[in-house]
């Protein structure tokens, strides 16, 4: 019951009860064109502002069209294969194992193809690293395959060319020699590295430089200093009892978020979902902006970037005081929860983990010292199995740009790299590039770097390519093409092999590499050809025997220099404004920015899409005299100022501004160009590393404002309270029902549970009863489910203006609620709480109510109930009254205001023939004027049932999976047949029905098929007095 005393709010406008919020909250459908800056014109085409004449025109045209259409049946063609591949059947999907490894992100996948077109990505469950999990970006990657803004063939300067000519010219120039640099982002592929080695063997003046736009080069350097090993170790969050992160967004963007998410959540799950475990890890986060990781933390403190080093030092000192270590001398820093974190770390010695997102080697050396003190090495950190995810070397890249400026480089080849855009010194490189005799880019489009290069040799998409990957020693996986190249593109490896004078067959090259290097380790006992087919079929190969070299011993002498560096650089109480750059889970480094699915994916925390912005705390904003959406000018000394709209972000450290990288592309394509501002140049460059923060920043109010497309307060919960139910671990241990809210309805026989009374007869679900459980403890907010659903169900992208108009189309959204223990009436307490609120994520989708309010109000029976518990939506019957959306308590119904797939105003890949190839042929493309919503992936249910029927059996437990559940990297969404006693959902519900399982808005008795499991925070009981006081007040 405590939880209901908490006040939840979705944005400051709700907390403050702004006029605009109140107005919107009671208005389901906003007026069209309320914003005059709308790009839509009031014409007949988009259906806005039609007048009588337009009406008559439409009427006349309609009559003519109907008459004509009635005269003749349009002729449809049925075109068979000439020579049908034996195992392919039109209408039946084929799955191929492959691997997504872009920019160091590594995710083994299964690619679903229909009629030869890849249409969906699923995680590969054979991988022990990702365990079938996916991220939003990998889910969206299939849309990038059908991006019409990509190059259609090789280019010389701005002119189209052909491969033969280009090869000849480039060969000629390469043979002239001189310093050649291959500049790439992190390459996970050992075969590609071997190709580059072969190229370098042919041209000995060439060297290979790797750099990462989201560099962790400082960590590598620190490990070199501390252990003599320039590597990134394997982290194992699953073994940690206390986790402290200083600015590392390890669930969202730091090194290998997908791998860490799975490990981390395994320590956060409790109850039947985790084998009746009742223990949780405790997670502290010290960071500047409110990150997704910070939102999941039990205790979080906002700190300024200038305090980062001191926070680590202070933690070290406090832990050392407990465990007996030599303290280091740095300035003391006053940050909440430092003592508590240190105490928990010390008591969890041997099962603790401290990570830092800083790219300052000195800070990382201190983190190493702290982890060493805590005995983390060998338990939660494994130096003997380094990972390859980020191999970038900031120093080498720095040297390259300096050399290029000085004219010392004769040839530059950019491989999956766009440094002009995503390197802080991009502007310098931009000026230097024309001086380089031979510049080649393998970019798939004329991006910021490629457009300055003499040659662009467009790379194929990974779904069109052969490749392999090795995320760490002993782990291998393969990428295989699932479609022929759509355009005249060529894999970079083929180009490099060609220029090195070798056979350009990269498939054979990989095969030979595997034969000589990997097959002998594998010891599979199969002949190589069979081994190869098997590896290709499985997608991943994990060689257990192979354990890499020994871990180096910690060098205590390395600490002193680092402490000096930290003491010199970091200040406990700096007063100026400071900048922190962060990476969003959607756009990432910006390489995939031209992907409308990612652009429209709301940020987990700010719920903003289609923009980057300056996050300021309320206090800082008030001091600056700016409000939400006002433009501010952010200026880092010595760098050009950037103008961005303000987003007042609860949890942001006072006196700081956070801005996302990955925006402000200029040459990425229609969906990305001009969206947001490029803030890479604001990062600080030192000789050896990049720092994604700056300490001397000027923020001034600029004129004008820009509305940010934010989805958080679009729907109203009408003041209903029991949406989120949560508790703390101690309370849960005492009573598994802790935090649950049991509403009562007053009847003539006294108060009863709402579910005891009903107007309706209910539905007999004799065959299946499809249901879902969503574990609020497992949801990190990563949004993979949102994009997965979008891909599976042909959900259109509506664009920034339409999101501002509150017309986004996502069938599943992740509601982010801020909360605090302060009493609802305690305005002052709430103000303070809003500076650093608790956060909870709640995936919200159609609840498939058994007493569905939407069904009873539909005048045309377009939404009805099925005998399997589904709330069905029949588009062809819908006439668009929107009564259902109005009556839906969960606000999950979406209206098609436009014919998004056939309207040039919505140029988001779906309106051209190429982009339409991503459409799932089993799901209707909705037309204008109809409502749509989550169908529980009924196409998958039907397909699964048919498979079972064809095999004359019942569906196996958990055989049928919906897109969101399949995409979820933590198993937080559990879908299944509640009538099947063997299914996970049935087993779980049996245990949790009397414990954590609750239904949202139980008091209105709509009886959803979806249950949620209460959120449990590993907080101490201290937090209770406030809640207890509130309880008394009630």
């Amino acid at each position: 019951m405590e939880s209901t005393n908490k006040r939840y709010w979705r944005g400051l406008e709700e907390l403050r009860n702004d006029e605009s919020f109140v107005k919107n909250a009671y208005k389901e459908f906003p007026e069209a064109n309320s914003d005059k800056s709308s790009t839509e014109s009031g014409s007949i085409v988009d259906g806005i502002g039609s007048d009588r004449r337009d009406f008559l025109k439409v009427l006349g045209f309609g009559m003519a069209a109907v008459t004509l259409a009635a005269c003749d049946t349009p002729v449809h063609r049925a075109i068979p294969y000439i020579n049908k591949p034996e195992s392919t059947f039109p209408g039946i999907a084929d799955y191929y194992a492959s691997t997504y490894s872009e920019g160091g992100d590594y995710i083994p996948v299964l690619v679903k193809t229909r009629e030869g077109r890849p249409i969906k990505i699923e995680g590969n469950t054979s991988s022990t690293i990702t365990k079938g999990g996916t991220s939003a970006r990998v889910q969206a990657s299939v849309l990038s395959l059908y991006d019409n803004d990509k190059l259609k063939g090789p280019k010389r300067g701005d002119a189209d060319s052909d491969w033969a000519t280009i090869d000849k010219e480039i060969l000629g120039q390469l043979q002239r020699g001189g310093a050649i640099r291959i500049v790439s982002s992190t390459l996970l592929s050992p075969s590609t590295k071997s190709v580059i080695a072969a190229f370098i063997a042919k041209y000995p003046t060439a060297t290979h430089i790797q750099y990462d736009a989201n560099s962790v080069s400082g960590l590598v350097q620190a490990n070199q200093t501390s252990f003599g090993q320039a590597v990134i170790p394997s982290y194992d969050f699953s073994k940690a009892k206390t986790i402290v992160s200083v600015g590392a967004d390890f669930l969202g963007s730091w090194i290998a978020p997908l791998e860490y998410t799975d490990q981390y959540i395994s320590t956060r799950k409790v109850g039947a979902n985790a084998g009746n475990k009742k223990e949780m890890s405790r997670h502290y986060q010290f960071e500047t902006g409110l990150s997704m990781t910070g939102s999941n933390a039990d205790y979080r403190s906002p700190i300024k970037p200038s305090q980062e080093g001191l926070v680590v030092a202070a933690l070290y000192n406090k832990v050392a005081a407990k465990l007996g270590g030599a303290p280091v001398s740095t300035a003391a820093v006053d940050v909440p929860y430092l003592d508590k974190a240190a105490a928990d770390l010390a008591s969890a010695r041997g099962a603790a983990l401290v990570v830092s997102g800083s790219n300052d080697p000195n800070v990382q050396v201190l983190v190493n010292a702290l982890n060493n003190l805590l005995g983390s090495y060998g338990v939660t950190i494994d130096l003997s199995r380094p990972v390859n995810y980020r191999q970038g070397n900031d120093a080498a890249m720095n040297a390259f740009i300096t050399d290029a400026k000085a004219g010392r480089i004769q040839g530059a080849i950019f491989y999956a790299a766009n440094p002009v855009y995503d390197h802080p010194r991009g502007a310098e490189l931009k000026e230097a590039l024309p001086k380089i005799g031979l510049s080649v880019s393998f970019a798939d489009r004329s991006d910021e770097t490629a457009s300055l290069c003499k040659y662009t040799c467009p790379a194929s998409h990974y779904l069109e390519s052969w490749d392999d990957a090795s995320p760490k020693a002993g782990f291998y996986s393969l990428t295989q093409p699932t479609i022929n190249t759509i355009f005249k593109t060529r894999q970079p490896q083929v180009s490099l092999l060609t220029w090195a004078g070798l056979s350009p067959n990269y498939e054979n090259f990989i095969k030979n590499y595997w034969r000589t290097s990997i097959y002998p380790q594998a010891g599979s006992g199969l002949p190589f050809d069979q081994f190869w087919i098997q590896s290709l079929h499985n997608g991943v190969l994990e060689v257990n025997a192979a354990v890499a070299g020994a871990a180096g011993a910690f060098k205590p002498e390395s600490v002193a220099a680092a402490v000096a560096g930290v003491a010199q650089k970091y200040k406990p109480n700096a007063t100026g404004f400071e900048l922190s750059l962060y990476e969003k889970v959607s756009i990432g480094t910006g390489a995939m920015a031209n992907n409308p699915w990612l652009q429209e994916l709301p940020d987990p925390v700010s719920k903003a899409c289609w923009d980057n912005y300056a996050c300021l705390s309320q206090k800082t904003a008030t001091e600056l005299g700016v409000e939400q959406f006002d433009l501010v000018s952010v200026e880092v000394t010595g760098k050009p100022a950037v103008e961005l709209p303000v987003l007042v972000q609860p949890g942001q450290a006072d006196g700081t501004v956070s801005i996302a990288i990955g925006y402000g592309r200029e040459k990425a394509g229609k969906s990305a160009d001009g969206i947001g501002k490029n803030v890479y140049p604001l990062a600080s460059v030192s000789a050896n590393s990049l720092l994604f923060s700056a300490m001397d920043v000027k923020i001034t109010k600029a004129s004008g404002s820009r509305t940010i497309a934010q989805t958080q307060t679009h729907d109203t919960v009408m003041g209903r309270r029991a949406v989120i139910q949560e508790t703390i671990l101690a309370a849960y241990k005492k009573d598994p029902k802790a935090g649950r809210y049991f509403p009562k309805v007053v009847t003539s026989e006294g108060p009863v549970s709402p579910t005891d009374i009903s107007l309706w007869k209910g539905y007999e679900k004799t065959n299946h009863s499809w249901g879902m459980i969503i574990d609020l403890n497992s949801c990190t907010g990563c949004a993979a489910c949102v994009v997965s659903c979008q891909a599976e169900n042909n959900i259109p992208v509506v664009g920034r203006q339409e999101v501002i108009n509150r017309r986004e189309m996502h069938w599943i959204r992740i509601d982010r609620y801020y909360s605090s223990d302060a009493e609802a009436e305690d305005r002052k307490g709430l103000e303070i709480a809003s500076n650093n609120p608790e956060v909870v994520f709640q995936p919200m989708l159609c609840q498939h109510c058994s007493n569905a309010p939407c069904e009873t109000v539909c005048p045309v029976l377009a939404t009805t109930h099925s005998a399997e518990g589904l709330n069905q939506m029949t588009y062809n019957r819908c006439v668009g009254t929107r009564y259902c959306a109005n009556n839906c308590p969960y606000k999950v119904r979406r209206f098609n205001w436009f014919k998004y797939f056939d309207n040039d105003n919505f140029d988001y890949h779906y309106n051209n023939d190429l982009g339409k190839m991503v459409i799932n042929p089993d799901v209707t493309v909705r037309s204008r004027g109809v409502i749509e919503k989550c169908s529980f992936c009924v196409q998958r249910i039907q397909e699964g049932k048919l498979t079972a029927k064809k095999e004359r059996r019942r569906p196996k437990p958990d055989e049928i999976q919906v897109a969101c559940a399949q995409a979820c990297p933590t198993g937080g969404i559990i879908f299944g047949d509640m009538n099947d006693p063997e299914s996970t959902i049935s087993k779980l519900l049996k245990e949790e029905n009397e414990a954590r399982a609750f239904q949202v808005l139980e008091e209105i008795n709509v009886r959803p098929q979806i249950s949620y499991l209460t959120k449990i925070r590993n907080k101490d009981e201290e937090a209770k007095p406030v809640a207890a006081a509130a309880g008394h007040a009630e």
Partner: protein
């Protein structure tokens, strides 16, 4: 909007004569829809199993008679060769030939360069079943005209238009009634002279016959009852026509477009009894039955009738690597999801139930209306093929508790929207 409904119905009306319109109205009042009785094939024993295998695997090349198709006719095969040899041969003909077997070598010499396909997956029993079928079918019993698909079935699909005879009778009735009306009018006119009061003077002219007829007609025409009957009848007809016209939008029953190649189902499926599944390879597997690719045609036409100009078109398609663009006959709207496997494999519905007597069609025609009403109607009437399908066991048991009727598709959610629309 109303105007274009009327306009549309007028266009539709133009195409039909007034009489037939009237007739259709009358029919609509009396007609009822007929249903097809599903007759499961009564079969058992080895020969029945063999027949199924024969039709999928052997029939493309062998007849059960003496006739040579691609390979030799199989009549009396068991008397020609012993069973052990046949099993060996069918499993791997190449091996028997290379073993130097005299009969096999002779066969090879005769049919060179064709060698029979090997069937290593067939069990000995399968082969015995096939042979039993060949024996039975080749026996001098009257040749059974079995429908392709392996099951004998009287495929008489529901006909939604009234029979020709019924129409003729109704037209005749109408004509007779009109004649009677005319005769009566004439009679009245003739008799009215006799009834008319005669003033007795010869000079007064009696009204002439035609004038009397005319006045009688106008009397009839001014009869308010009759006028309102005619008026209401007219309104009824127009309304009925409007709705019929609207309901027929997008319905192309009887659509039989000319195809790029004059392929005859009558010949292939009817005369040669090639199993539907042989060409429409995924009809039991997936959503689409699929139009056969050119390489499937080549399985037989690599040898047979190579010189035919129609078959030359396939050769040309292969040479030019340009697929044959068939005209699609059965077009469901995109908003309706239909899966062949659900109906053919799980539901065990015969192809002819929806496609009509395809084995008698020279040019494929859309026999069923493919409207939602037609689908729903069948879902209401059709019993679920629950036999030997564990998926349905629990459902059948539950259904039996509450009802004596057999389990029909409608009972298990076959009328729910999201079964076809998503």
């Amino acid at each position: 909007m109303h105007t274009d409904f009327i306009g549309f119905s007028l266009i539709k009306m133009y195409s039909r004569s007034v009489i037939s319109t009237l007739v259709i109205v009358l029919i609509a009042l009396f007609s009822s829809y007929q249903s097809v009785a599903q007759e499961a094939a009564a079969a058992g024993g080895d020969a029945a199993k063999g027949k199924e295998l024969f039709s999928t695997l052997c029939q493309q090349c062998h007849a059960v008679t003496d006739e040579k198709v691609i390979g030799p006719g199989l009549k009396g095969i068991k008397s020609r060769r012993d069973e052990a040899w046949l099993i060996k041969w069918i499993k791997n003909p190449q091996a028997v030939i290379s073993s130097g077997d005299a009969y096999a070598t002779a066969l090879y010499a005769k049919y060179q360069p064709l060698v029979m396909q090997s069937f290593p997956d067939l069990s000995d029993d399968d082969i015995r079943n096939i042979l039993a079928h060949v024996e039975a079918a080749g026996a001098p019993a009257p040749v059974a005209t079995a429908a392709p698909g392996g099951t004998a079935q009287a495929a008489a699909p529901a006909s939604e238009s009234p029979s020709g005879l019924f129409t003729a009778v109704l037209v005749a009735l109408l004509v007779v009634m009109l004649l009677v009306l005319g005769v009566l009018l004439v009679l009245v006119s003739v008799l009215s002279k006799a009834v008319a009061p005669t003033p007795g003077t010869e000079g007064t002219q009696s009204t002439p016959f035609f004038q009397r007829l005319k006045s009688n007609l106008s009397a009839v025409a001014s009869n308010s009852t009759l006028r309102s009957i005619v008026l209401w009848l007219f309104v009824f007809v127009v309304t009925k026509q409007t709705f019929d016209g609207l309901y027929s939008v997008g319905v192309s029953q009887g659509y039989a477009p000319k195809q790029p190649i004059a392929f005859s189902h009558k010949l292939h499926a009817g005369q040669y009894q090639i199993n539907c599944n042989y060409c429409h390879t995924s009809v039991y597997k997936g959503k689409l039955a699929t139009i056969p690719s050119a390489n499937i045609c080549m399985n037989c036409h690599g040898e047979i009738k190579r010189e035919s100009p129609e078959i030359q078109k396939i050769y040309k398609a292969i040479e030019e690597d340009r697929p044959v663009e068939w005209v699609r006959v059965h077009n469901l709207p995109d908003l309706a999801y239909f899966n062949h496997a659900q109906h053919t494999n799980v539901g065990q519905v015969q192809c002819q139930t929806c496609h009509g007597e395809i084995e008698k069609m020279e040019v494929v025609e859309q026999r069923s209306s493919l409207t939602m009403g037609w689908c729903i109607d069948c879902h209401r009437k059709t019993e679920v093929a629950t036999k030997d399908n564990a998926y349905y066991d629990k459902l059948v048991a539950l259904h039996k508790k509450g009802s004596k009727e057999p389990l029909r598709v409608a009972n298990i959610g076959g009328l729910e929207c999201s079964k076809c629309h998503y």
